[in-house]
Symmetry: C2
Subunit: 113 residues, 2 copies
DNA sequence: ACGTGTGCTACTGTTTATGTAGCAACCAAT
DNA sequence: ATTGGTTGCTACATAAACAGTAGCACACGT
């Protein structure tokens, strides 16, 4: 796992932002955080929310996210964002609006290819 | 390539935010945009800025980002963010501060493993 | 004892990324 | 006009990451 204070895959700067980009740049990482934004989900619910991602990779990401103190597992509740991770997701929220404008800007070029 | 209005890898919702998370969830995608935030870079400079990422994957990502209208290639200038992508990077900027707090919150636990 | 739901792993195959080398086009100076 | 540098980019072989299916061990209630 790549964490701050440790060398980061690719660039060995160890700068926090690089560690973050590295962590979030892994498949399903951001999506998992996104799907947990409105409350905890048990493993299979989270799996379904992520479009039935394979349990292999889901569990791998969850391990990483728990190591990074972004996600916790609570007995009977499921997986939950830590307060810090909840802030992170809030920061990501504006991307929603941007993505809509992005779609509009791309226009109908991809509507009927 | 995955673009809005088209099914997204994993989840077939086609929602813009999912397309975005999918695109940015690929290795080096966010990092490339990040490194271009302060002006255009030619291929090899960009490669170096990304910690000497392999040209194979760099070129693959650049193709995708250009298709997604986030990056353009200008003769003699190199690769440049589109205005829309520049806005995106601005949205990502707060992650820098968050990442610092994240590092602090993780504490010295990973300093000397 | 049975069914249900939990988190999670084993296994196999495919996809994606890495690392090295090098090409063709351009341009400037010798 | 040929050398040397830079550009964007590709081929190839190897390694790592991911995907998809099946199923285990544990806990719970009935």
């Amino acid at each position: 796992m790549t964490l701050p204070h440790r060398p980061v895959r690719g660039s060995q700067t160890g700068r926090p932002i690089m560690a973050l980009l590295d962590l979030l740049g892994r498949r399903w990482a951001m999506r998992i955080l996104w799907e947990l934004r409105q409350g905890p989900l048990v493993f299979r619910s989270l799996q379904e929310a992520c479009g039935n991602v394979s349990p292999t990779i889901l569990n791998t990401r969850l391990k990483e996210l728990r190591q990074a103190a972004l996600v916790t597992l609570e007995q009977g509740k499921g997986y939950r964002l830590t307060p810090l991770a909840a802030e992170l997701v809030e920061l990501v929220h504006p991307l929603n609006d941007w993505a809509q404008r992005w779609t509009d800007a791309l226009g109908g070029d991809y509507e009927n290819p």
